[in-house]
Amino acid sequence: MVDISVAISSLKLENPTLLASGILGISPKTFMRIKKSGAGGIVTKSIGLEPNDGYSAPTLVEVEGGYLNAMGLPNPGCEAFSEELREADWLDMPIIVSVFGSSPEELAKIVDSFEDTPCQAYELNLSCPHVSNVGVEVGSDPRSVYELTSAIKQKSKKPLFVKVTPMVPDVIEIAKAAEEAGADGITAVNTMKGMVIDLKIGRPILHNRVGGLSGPALKPVAIRCVYELYKSLNIPIIGCGGVTTWEDAIEFFMVGATAVQVGTAIASRDLILFQEIVDGIIKYLEEKGHDDLKGIIGIAHKR
C-alpha cells in the first residue's frame, strides 16, 4: 500500500494536493466539498485587515494556455472571515489561511484574529502581481520579506508558508530571506504579470489592464523556480502553477516539491480533478515500486 500522506512542518495532509489561494476559498461549506472531491486541504483567499471589494470587472479572461486575472484581492477582511471560520467549528480538514499586508503591524493583527479558528497554518502572499504595496513590490525585496515573515512568526506558532513571485531575477534570494525569518515552507509560485488587448475596441480587456497569468502557460516557470529553490533551501516547497493532471504533480515532486496546489485547472476540469490527480499519483508510485513520495521528490536533480 502506497502512503501519499505528507507533513509540512507540523501540518499533516492525507495527500499532497491543496486548493490554491484565491480560488473559491471563501465559504467554509465549499471547503468541505473540495475536501470530499479529494483535496488534501485548502488555502483560503488572501485576507487583509479590511474588507475589500476588489477591482471592477472584467477580472478574468482566458488567454493562450491559461487565464489572466486581476481580481484585486477581494476579501471580507480578517474580522468577518475569522468570525465565519470560528463559527464553522465542524470544519474538520487542513485549512491554510492566506494573508497579505503592507506592514509587520498589520500582519500581526490579521494573524492574531485567526489564532482561535480552525486555521491550521498560514500562507503569506507577498506575490500578487496586480495590487500595489502588498504584492510583488514587497515580495521582491528580501528585507521586506524578512520583516513581514518575522512579524507572523513572532505572533503565531502555527506553520507559515511564504508564497513567492516568479518575477524576480533571483527567486532563491527571496525564499532564503523568508527561511531565515523562520518560514516553515515556501509556496512557489504566484502568477506573472500579463496583458491582453481586444482588437475590435483596441483596449485591454481586464478592467485593471494588467493581470496575473496562471494555468499551463505558467507551469514551466514554476517548475524552474521549484528546481532552483530545492537546491538552496532546507525547508519544504509547495509547488504551484499550472497543475492540471497527475503528471504535472509528479513533475513538481521530481524537481523537489513536497506538495502541490491546484488553481486554474478547476475551471476546465471541475473539482473532481483532485481525486483524479491523487489516484494518478498513487498508481504511478505503485508502478514504479515506491512506498511513498520520498522516492521521487527531487530526483530530477541527479546528473
Binding site: T30, A57, I266
Partner: protein
C-alpha cells in the same frame, strides 16, 4: 485545456435594437451564435468597456439574434440602460445550468427582471407541447415587463397568463405566492419554475415543497468570473455560476438556511438579504 476558446473571452457585438420593456426596463438585442445555442435560464457576462462586466439572463434566444433585459441599479446596469443601437458591448458565455424542461403542466412565476429568463422557458415548454401557466408579478402596471410578448405567447390552448400587481392596477391585487397557492388549488400543476426577488422565490419554493411539487428556482449572487474560480457566487456548498443559476428542489432544500436570508457582498462578506 483548450487553447484560444471564444467562450471565456468577450466577443464584441453591436447592439441591434433597444426596446422599452416597461417603465423601468429595457431590452437589448444583439447577434451571437454561441448565445443562440443557449438554453433558457443560462446567463452571459456582459462587458461595457471601461465600466464593468456583469451577469444577465438571456431574455430571448433565437437563431438570428438574442437579447437581455436590464433594470438600472448602479454603475454597470445604468450605463447599459443608456446605450443605443449600434454601440458595442462584449459578451462571454453562455454560462451555467439553465432550466430543465419537465412536467406536463408547469407554473412559471416571475417578478421584476426575474421574468426575463421565464420568457424563453415558456417558449421552450410550449414547443414541447407542455401546459404553461405564466404568472407575472410587479408593483404596478407600468413596471410589468414583457406584457405584449407574454400575451401573444400564452394565446394558445396550452397557455394561460395570470398577472398580479401589488396595487391591483392590472390583474390580481396582491403578491405572487398567494396567487400561485390558489392556482395550485384549481389546476393540476406538477412543475414550478420561479425567478424574481429572493423573498418571493423563498415563499414559492416553500409552498411547492409543502405541496410535494417539484420546483426550480434561478438565483442571483455576485458573479465575477462565471467559471467557478473566484468563489464570489457561493451559496451553501454550491458554486452558483456552475452548479446554477437554476437550482432544483433537492439543491434548494440544501441551501434552505441561506435562501431569502443571506448573501455575500463583493468582498465576500456575509450580509442579510
Amino acid at each position: 485545456m483548450e487553447l484560444l476558446t471564444s467562450v471565456n473571452r468577450p466577443r464584441i457585438c453591436k447592439i441591434l435594437s433597444v426596446q422599452n420593456e416597461s417603465a423601468t426596463m429595457k431590452t437589448f438585442e444583439f447577434a451571437d451564435d454561441e448565445c443562440s445555442a443557449a438554453t433558457a435560464g443560462q446567463f452571459i457576462m456582459l462587458w461595457i468597456p471601461g465600466v464593468d462586466e456583469f451577469p444577465l439572463s438571456l431574455s430571448n434566444i433565437k437563431s438570428g439574434s438574442v437579447s437581455v433585459t436590464v433594470k438600472p441599479w448602479a454603475e454597470g446596469s445604468n450605463s447599459l440602460y443608456k446605450m443605443r443601437t449600434g454601440e458595442l458591448i462584449g459578451v462571454r458565455g453562455p454560462y451555467g445550468r439553465g432550466f430543465q424542461l419537465k412536467g406536463r403542466s408547469a407554473a412559471l412565476v416571475g417578478g421584476g427582471t426575474g421574468i426575463a429568463p421565464l420568457i424563453p422557458l415558456a417558449e421552450a415548454l410550449l414547443s414541447e407541447d407542455r401546459e404553461v401557466t405564466l404568472l407575472l408579478a410587479a408593483k404596478t402596471r407600468s413596471e410589468l415587463p414583457f406584457l405584449a410578448k407574454a400575451t401573444k405567447l400564452m394565446d394558445f390552448d396550452k397557455g394561460e397568463l395570470i398577472l398580479t400587481t401589488d396595487d391591483g392596477s392590472i390583474g390580481v391585487k396582491g403578491q405572487a405566492p398567494k396567487t400561485l397557492n390558489s392556482l395550485m388549488g384549481k389546476k393540476k400543476i406538477d412543475m414550478v419554475y420561479v425567478c424574481g426577488p429572493e423573498f418571493m422565490m423563498q415563499k414559492v419554493v416553500q409552498l411547492s415543497i409543502a405541496r410535494g411539487i417539484e420546483v426550480q428556482a434561478s438565483l442571483e449572487r455576485i458573479m465575477k468570473c462565471a467559471i467557478g474560480l473566484c468563489g464570489s457566487c457561493c451559496v451553501g456548498d454550491l458554486i452558483l455560476c456552475r452548479d446554477g443559476p437554476v437550482l432544483d428542489s433537492h439543491e434548494l432544500i440544501k441551501v434552505e438556511d441561506e435562501l431569502g436570508l443571506l448573501t455575500r457582498d463583493k468582498s465576500g462578506r456575509i450580509s442579510s438579504l
